[in-house]
Symmetry: C2
Subunit: 132 residues, 2 copies
DNA sequence: CGGTATCCAAAAGGATACTG
DNA sequence: CAGTATCCTTTTGGATACCG
């Protein structure tokens, strides 16, 4: 199996992208990444996810969860009680995806100092050029 | 090392996010993912990348490459010739990052049928509900 | 509580023209 | 060729109000 950016497959109308890229974008979306990582710890309620992630609007969290549920990564368990209680958890497929995403997140956290240092070098080099 | 979405660290003005999330977003950005995957195969010129990725504007490719270069993931080699020739390649840091990203991409490609099937189930279930 | 609907601001992204 | 600059459209995302 080759992983290549050129594995495209635009539809006839040219308005969307191949499923592969689309799913990849769901998994790597701003809030999708964080939801998957958070749910690795176990089942969480809507409000728990909201607090855990922080700075995510209800709208975006709802939207993200619906997309991930439709793709089969997240299971939604809505209890028919008042007040409502809805628990979200990873499916087996979602757990696999979350492992990959968490791997990337973990690596990033681990290497963050290297990135910060690289930026300083980059900015310094450009500042010197500008004053010449 | 804990990987958690709650590892936030907003600045005092509340206008940006912690470096960790920011770098993660660079790596998981729409075009960033594809550039990293494409450069795993080796050094490529600007126009080669553009063709390989497809449907990316010059502006976005330029922007993406600059961000990845500043973060220390991509090396830019501009030959001082006419016409200009600029080659992009992964740094060692970038190679590590690209491995993680490629792992996710590979998994997605591998499981794409599961996702498509999950969507059909989801859409069917909702269609039935709507007609009740 | 866990959403949905609507509106609006901000950011991403594309098209085009131009340059060294 | 590999950009930069500008303009414009589309998408994203937040705030608010409301509902079961």
């Amino acid at each position: 199996m080759s992983v290549s950016a050129s594995n495209v497959n635009w539809n006839t109308a040219g308005e969307a992208m191949c499923p592969y890229r689309l799913v990849l974008e769901h998994l790597t979306s701003r809030w999708g990444v964080l939801v998957l990582i958070e749910l690795r710890e176990g089942s969480k309620r809507f409000s728990e996810l909201r607090r855990a992630i922080g700075r995510v609007s209800e709208k975006m969290l709802t939207q993200t969860l619906q997309i991930l549920e439709r793709d089969g990564f997240v299971h939604r368990d809505a209890k028919p009680i008042i007040p409502p209680r809805v628990d979200y958890s990873l499916t087996e497929l979602g757990r696999e995806a979350a492992e990959q995403v968490a791997g990337l997140a973990k690596w990033t956290e681990h290497r963050i100092q290297n990135v910060i240092h690289a930026r300083e070098q980059y900015d310094k080099a450009r500042a010197e050029k500008a004053s010449s």
